[in-house]
Amino acid sequence: MNAGMTNYYYVVAFAIVGGVFGGLLLSVARMLRPRKISKTKLEAYECGMEPFEGNWTQYSARFYVFALVFLIFDVEIAFLYPWGTVFRDFGVTSLIEMFVFIGVLLLGLVYAWKKGVLKWL
């Protein structure tokens, strides 16, 4: 196994240990905890009232526009990191290229801002 593969073998091992550890906690709790389920206990919490209008309601997530802008910028980060490790070797050219890249995205952000879509509500 080369170093890269070993790294990911470790990651998998950590994931398994995390999962098993969590499972262990839950199963210990299962042995210790009381079980007296009643109908009222299984109701959804609604500040002491009986839940009304059903529990599965719709929520209008007005910030979905953020999600679009976010996606674009997240991809930018994914490009920025590898670029950040090597950009010295290419000098001014890579600098200008990255500025153009960031500039376009920034322009998008400013446009979204001016359009007034950067609002949670």
Partner: protein
């Protein structure tokens, strides 16, 4: 989405239930539902003799109890034509103002708690309240339901060392209030969460019958202590605090200023306090002459009124109580539609309601 805020919600101060209709997090409609703490106070008192009524009133606004007692006691005095001794009036004023400060402390803590500063300022507020409460405990014998005012004066005289302890407390308080202001006012997040939130204009507030700090924060300086001086309030030098804007920050600011004025009143009253009896010559069981009387006083939360209809017997025919919490709450509910959920919590908290008083 329709959502219940209350009756079992961390931020409804008792058992207020607001049914909000949400669009995202924006409140479209907010309907308060009252009555979860309804005990029928006004009906109960019809079966009680006059001297038995103050303990019931204590249980209405359980944060500023003495202020409740006062309106009723003064109404009885007015109808019976009793003259309260000087000393009793002064002790009343001192305790009332301490009670007002306590109530504002008890507002300040939970208010910051609802803004999300979990626990810190809350306990500072309660700590100071505790010091005053010890004085009350020594004076009245109870920590919460004092039952200390009675028609004709006080139940008994203040204990030895009352003046010293009270003045020590009063001298300490300005620094404490400064500390509280320092704690939150320079805090950027506190300012962001309060300035411009829930602005109430004065006219709307008046139309809804709002009163007290809630009204004064909207720029209308109505204070019954000044406008219709009762007891001995006309002998003290204090100013009516008001602020403009009517937002949460103004309400906070008015209460802070008001506490300073209360301290001034207490200090003056302690200096002027005469010796003498604390109770006019009356009997426990009194019969009020046939008639009606309305007496209103400046409660910590606003105008608290007691309206007695007497049919000449030992018990009131009817006792109507006007609760400032109720009208203030109703006034604030016009503000709620259009807000976001956290602002709704902050606004309701800034009104300072006590559900025991609202529901009666």
């Amino acid at each position: 989405m329709e959502l219940n805020l209350g009756p079992q919600h961390p931020a409804t101060h008792g058992v207020l239930r607001i049914v909000v209709t949400l669009d995202g997090e924006r409140v479209v409609k907010a309907v308060p539902h009252l009555g979860y703490l309804h005990r029928g106070v006004e009906k109960i008192v019809e079966d009680l003799e006059y001297f038995q009524i103050p303990p019931i009133l204590d249980r209405m606004d359980y944060v500023a109890n003495l202020n409740n007692e006062l309106s009723y006691v003064m109404a009885v005095e007015k109808l019976a034509g009793l003259k309260v001794p000087e000393r009793a009036e002064y002790v009343r004023v001192i305790l009332l103002e301490f009670n007002r400060i306590m109530s504002h402390f008890a507002w300040f803590g939970p208010f910051t708690n609802d803004l999300g500063l979990f626990g810190t300022a809350f306990l500072y507020g309660l700590r100071e309240r505790e010091y005053i409460q010890r004085l009350f405990e020594r004076t009245t014998g109870a920590r919460m339901h004092y039952n200390y005012f009675t028609y004709g004066g006080l139940r008994h005289d203040v204990p030895d060392g009352f003046v010293e302890e009270a003045s020590r407390l009063a001298n300490r308080l300005p620094a404490v209030i400064d500390e509280f202001e320092y704690m939150v006012e320079e805090n950027e997040v506190f300012r962001l969460r309060t300035i411009g939130i829930g602005p109430m204009d004065g006219q709307t507030a008046l139309n809804f019958g709002a009163s007290g700090p809630f009204l004064r924060a909207s720029g209308i300086p109505i204070d019954l202590r000044k406008d219709e001086p009762y007891s001995v309030y006309d002998r003290f030098d204090f100013k009516v605090c008001s602020a403009s804007g009517g937002d949460c920050f103004a309400r906070y600011k008015v209460r802070m200023d008001e506490m300073r004025e209360s301290v001034k009143i207490i200090q003056q009253a302690l200096e002027q306090m005469p010796d003498g009896p604390v109770r006019a010559k009356t009997t426990r069981h009194i019969k009020l002459p046939k008639g009606e009387v309305y007496m209103r006083t400046e409660h910590a939360r606003g105008e608290f009124g007691a309206y007695i209809v007497s049919d000449g017997g030992e018990r009131p025919y009817r006792l109507k109580l006007r609760s400032p919490s109720l009208s203030n709450l109703m006034a604030s509910c016009v503000l709620l539609p259009g807000m976001v959920l956290p602002d709704l919590i902050a606004t309701v908290a800034s009104v300072d309601i006590v559900l025991g008083c609202t529901d009666r």
